[in-house]
Amino acid sequence: MTTTLPDTAVVLGADVPDWRTAVRESGRALTRAKVTRPEYTERMIGVIEEFGAYVVIAPGLALAHARPGPDVLGEGLSVVTLATPVDFGHPHNDPVRVVIGLAVANAEEHVASVARLANVFNDLGVIDRLAQATDADEVRVLLGVPAGGEA
């Protein structure tokens, strides 16, 4: 299965006051794209509350995610860029400008799509370019994912 990124899963220049709202935006985008139910969003926030800001895996980039569960309807991504960067509490990689929401249906099958994501971000300039993207098409080109049937 190819991961898609419909327009509904992209929010550019979101104006959020804090990391929780930023993660909630990324969760709402996943739900709009019919990838998750709203409960998943709260689980993504719970991961950060429990383990800290380790989800900020590169300077300026947070990968919001939680384990597979009944609130995950399929595998998918969302992309939220922030008008004003927010701190997640990471010692090196704050402030965050881009939040990628990730949902996976099962732990075994997600490695391939994550590897694709790793390929994209091995170019360390991509985070900057994502943060400055002005439309969903630009985001899709940067990530190398199609819009999918519903866009």
Partner: protein, 94 residues
């Protein structure tokens, strides 16, 4: 040689770390198996591992879970920076 990539949930971030650690090892011409683990099961996963890769945020938790294990904990700042991962692995394994 065995390397464990650990994150809170054992999916997503640890998978990215695993993929990029494999790339770094490849570039260095080193061979090792890299597995992903969640924090809760890292003690078992790392029982026969030489190196545990994780983020600074989780390093203290990983250290507490590992107890007297011989595995070295390496903190990675940028999970996508294959050069950072490679140079830290090289220092540890070389």
């Amino acid at each position: 040689m065995r390397i464990i990539a650990v994150c809170g949930e054992g999916i997503g971030t640890s998978a990215i770390l695993k993929v990029n650690a494999e790339r770094a090892l490849d570039r260095l011409g080193l061979s090792a198996s890299v597995d992903a683990s969640d924090l809760a099961s890292v003690a078992d996963a790392a029982a026969d591992a030489q190196v545990v890769l994780t983020s600074t945020e989780l390093a203290a938790d990983v250290r507490a879970k590992l107890g007297r294990s011989f595995a070295e904990i390496i903190e990675i700042v940028n999970y996508f920076d294959v050069e950072e991962i490679g140079s830290k692995l090289e220092r540890s394994l070389g």
